[in-house]
């Protein structure tokens, strides 16, 4: 029996001397008809390059296959070595025999063409369909990925659809001509967790329907438990371990696989929450941050004079308090208002209503102390590339009217050492640091002014999983040492579980459930929290069947003057409240 795909000793290099710059070295694997292989690894492991080598898209990114063979069994039974195939041959294979979907559905579809045109293109290229036939085929393709109202949606351009919908469109396009192999390169990484669950469910269903094979690339070993037959773990361009799903997950042999399974945050339904700093003991102290009925609305304007005709209720009556030394995680999906809440607390967006107070800790001598500081999501974009680390760290001091004196320099040195960066960092520039190091820099910058509250907006989301674990450890250590209060904004339940004492679940601008982390994660009460937690992939949930659900998030645009009714809360246990839905 010839396998559908057989990759042997594949090496891929980049640049003028590809042999010297190999990013994939000696990778081999086989894939049978109908089988799913998951390739797991962190950024730079060569997993995407391996995938892109199969349909030779790697050529367009400046890559060169420097050795090995990729043998594809064709529809007619013949075998073709793709490393030696000509570009016209490859053009006929791409889309027809090998389909591919990518990480960012928002940018992976052509923004100026309607989605109908883009799906039809596949049928035109490989099936020779034109006009009405092509349109009908495109509609069927959309129906197949469970997009409601397909005929109308064909005329939409990508900007009119949500990320989850666009990924469905991508899948429809990739599967249009029934390829026997689908390569999925991190297809759910850019999506919300409930949407991710939907896409995974859809892929599993389509796989059953069509009997196609799949190569699924991901950084999240927990995610593949539900879909893969085999796993290959990659590190630094080499396949370090491969085998059957259960074998890899239960008896990992290679140290790196063990590290991925054990040290990296995986969701454990509340079993891995922190045990320090529980709220029940000292609640008589003043909270570090208290937020009361926070409302943020953005006007929707229309008409000749641009009058407000409605408002986007981004945050609608949010209350919480945050004690010294405590982490409150605000979790929710994109558009739920969690980042707007953080920005409003910092004064980066103006709140429509509501009050918040932050207690100012006693400042160290000669230093002004701002009570609240922030660490942003993307360490690559939130450090000015033209400033040295010294200037970056001096900035908050200067901005608050301080002077860069010996004390400030001493503080810089201490903080750099404390966040684990080399001493000679001060005269270097941000681009000389890795993503994890840059996030450490951002943390050091936030601590320059002795804040009592640090707002961390998706602060570890852009980092690789093992880097994530280390930055989380650092955050916990710093919290204990300086008694910091964290407002931790995140969509990632596994990360939240590691750092939060309390969790607030936010949906459509309102907190629907708030309380002790263990209690919220292990016994969620609100329907939305349940749905959210059920969608989190874990290693324990193997081959779990998800129902495909195409419900959309409700619109947050309300007519002018609309006020939501007062919230009613139901109390569960000492510190766990759930909003009662009308």
């Amino acid at each position: 029996m010839i396998p559908l795909l057989s990759v042997s000793d594949l090496s891929v290099g980049f640049g003028r001397t590809p042999q010297a710059n190999e990013v994939v070295r000696g990778v081999s694997f086989e894939l049978a008809d109908g089988e799913t292989l998951a390739i797991v690894g962190e950024s730079g492991s060569g997993k995407s390059v391996t995938a892109l080598s199969i349909n030779r898209l790697v050529d367009f990114g400046g890559g060169r296959i420097t050795g090995g063979a990729i043998k594809l069994k064709r529809a007619d039974g013949g075998v073709l070595d793709l490393t030696a195939a000509s570009e016209p041959q490859l053009t006929r294979i791409r889309g027809a025999e090998i389909g591919m979907i990518f990480q960012e559905p928002m940018t992976s579809l052509n923004p100026v063409l309607t989605i109908g045109t883009q799906i039809e293109e596949s049928f035109r290229l490989h099936r020779g369909l034109t006009g009405r036939q092509a349109t009908a085929a495109a509609k069927d393709a959309l129906d197949r990925v469970r997009i409601p109202d397909a005929a109308r949606r064909l005329k939409y351009t990508p900007n009119q659809l949500s990320g989850g919908m666009l990924q469905r469109v991508m899948i429809a396009t990739a599967l249009a001509c029934n390829p026997r192999l689908l390569i999925a390169d991190e297809p759910t990484t850019a999506l919300d967790v409930t949407v991710q669950a939907q896409i995974m469910a859809l892929l599993a269903e389509l796989k059953r329907e069509t009997g196609m094979s799949m190569i699924f690339i991901t950084h999240d070993i927990g995610l593949v438990a539900g879909i893969a037959d085999k796993i290959m773990v990659m590190q630094n361009g080499e396949g370090v371990e491969q085998g059957e799903l259960n074998q890899i997950l239960d008896q990992p042999q290679h140290p790196y696989t063990q590290h991925l399974l054990q040290d990296v945050p995986h969701f454990a339904s509340g079993r891995a929450t922190r045990s320090d700093g529980r709220r029940d003991k000292a609640t008589d102290t003043e909270p570090a941050l208290k937020v009361n009925d926070l409302v943020v609305r953005f006007p929707v304007k229309s008409g000749f004079f641009g009058r407000a005709t409605g408002a986007v209720h981004a945050v609608d009556g949010v209350d919480f308090d945050l004690m010294q030394g405590e982490t409150l995680a605000i979790v929710g999906e994109s558009g739920s208002g969690k980042s707007t809440t953080a920005r409003a607390v910092l004064g980066l967006v103006r709140s429509t209503r509501g009050s918040f107070s932050a207690s100012v800790r006693k400042a160290a001598a000669g230093q002004s102390a701002l009570p609240i500081q922030m660490v942003f999501q993307n360490p690559y974009a939130s450090l000015n590339p033209r400033l040295t680390i010294e200037s970056i760290l001096a900035e908050p001091v200067i901005a608050t009217g301080g002077r860069v004196d010996a004390a400030t320099r001493a503080k810089m040195a201490t903080l750099l050492k404390r966040v684990g960066l080399p001493e000679n960092s001060l005269e270097r520039y941000p681009h000389q640091f890795s993503g994890g190091q840059r996030q450490r820099l951002c943390i050091a910058r936030a601590l320059m002014l002795n804040p009592s509250v640090v707002v961390l907006d998706e602060a570890v989301s852009a980092l690789d999983v093992s880097v994530q674990a280390r930055v989380l450890e650092l955050l916990v250590d710093l919290q204990r040492e300086f008694g910091l209060a964290y407002l931790f904004i995140s969509h990632d339940m596994a990360v939240v579980e590691r750092i939060a004492h309390r969790i607030a679940v936010i949906y459509a601008g309102q907190i629907v459930e708030i309380g002790d982390a263990k209690s919220v994660l292990s016994a969620p009460k609100h329907a939305y929290t349940k749905k959210l937690i059920a969608a989190v992939p874990t290693i324990d949930r193997r081959r779990e069947h998800f129902e495909v659900d195409t419900r959309q998030v409700p619109s947050l645009v309300r007519p002018l003057g609309f006020e939501p009714g007062p919230a009613r809360w139901e109390q569960f246990g000492a510190d766990h409240r759930v909003r009662v839905e009308a």
């Binding site: 889309g95 990518f102 290229l125 351009t157 991508m170 008409g303 000749f304």
Partner: protein
């Protein structure tokens, strides 16, 4: 639609602003209309005669009174009488405008027809010898002053082939299209050359950006051919900066091209404005500037509407 109305509502405000600036600026230039009109004979005028003349042209009043009168005339569609031509300003402008418009259009067509394919070619042959060739040519094109180019063209034609560009009385397009084209083609090439060079550079860099975008990779993964990727998927996304550039250049060209008009002896808007300034023909300068500003706004509006047609993500008037 509301957007269009709102945009058009701003037009009068901009025009009033522009006209005030011009009105004041030209009166700050030393020299006066009467001296400019009569030349050395102006010295023979008695002060009384001079005053009478000034009163006749209305230039004895303070500038804001003059401006008020002029504005009142404008509201009746009357831009005033040109003192050099003795005709209504609007008539003088409209006489010259067809030539300028045609020249600008021709130059733009040449620029786009040459520049876009050249830019696409260079982008798809990135870092190869042919890319370098296109880039060097574009650099030369951009840095050659157009009077040098114009003289080179005339010299080559006359010395090399014994042909002279068609000069003499200008014949409008609707009277003698062939003769008209013969008169305009060389000036259009002269102006279009640098324009094409800019278009090449902009479309090259825009294409390079777009070719590394995710959706281009998607198109390739679907099995779209190299040609399909370039013309169907990449180019429409790369056109926005080209449209921006073309709009600005076209707007400038509508204001006339003084040097090229002078060299090819064409009666265009550029020379009209220059002469009007030299002659202190206040009414004509004001009228021309107003007209040019109006054209610029129309072009800008067209550019914005083109954006919408090119890219569905751009919605006008949203805040």
């Amino acid at each position: 639609m509301t957007y269009l109305l709102r945009r058009l509502a701003v037009f009068p405000l901009v025009l009033i602003g522009v006209s005030i600036v011009v009105f004041v600026a030209i009166r700050m230039v030393p020299g006066d209309a009467i001296t400019a009109m009569l030349g050395t004979e102006a010295g023979l005028l008695t002060p009384a005669q001079r005053e009478a003349l000034a009163a006749y042209f209305g230039i004895d009043q303070p500038w804001f009174v003059q401006y008020g009168r002029w504005l009142a005339g404008l509201l009746h569609g009357n831009l005033g009488i040109s003192s050099t031509y003795g005709k209504p300003v609007l008539d003088v402008i409209l006489e010259r405008f067809p030539l300028t418009l045609e020249l600008a259009l021709l130059s733009m067509i040449i620029a786009l027809v040459v520049g876009v394919p050249a830019g696409v070619f260079a982008a798809t042959h990135n870092e190869k010898f042919s890319d370098l060739g296109v880039r060097v040519a574009a650099m030369i094109g951009q840095s050659t002053p157009n009077f040098v180019l114009a003289l080179l063209i005339i010299y080559t034609l006359s010395a090399g082939f014994g042909v002279l560009p068609a000069m003499g009385e200008f014949s409008p397009l609707w009277q003698d299209p062939l003769r008209n084209l013969g008169q305009l083609i060389l000036p259009a090439i002269t102006l279009g050359f640098a324009f094409a060079a800019s278009v090449t550079r902009v479309s090259r860099s825009a294409m390079l950006d777009v070719l590394s975008d995710d959706y281009v990779r998607t198109a390739r993964s679907k099995g779209v051919s190299a040609r399909g990727v370039i013309w169907r998927h990449a180019l429409p996304n790369a056109l926005i900066p080209v449209v921006t550039l073309s709009g600005i250049e076209f707007g400038y060209l509508l204001g006339g091209a003084v040097i090229v008009e002078q060299i090819y002896a064409l009666p265009g808007l550029g020379r009209l404005v220059l002469d009007a300034i030299l002659q202190r023909d206040y009414a004509l300068v004001q009228g021309c500037v107003l007209f040019i500003a109006f054209n610029f706004m129309i072009v800008n509006l067209l550019v914005d509407l083109t954006y919408v047609a090119l890219d569905p993500r751009i919605r006008l008037g949203e805040q």
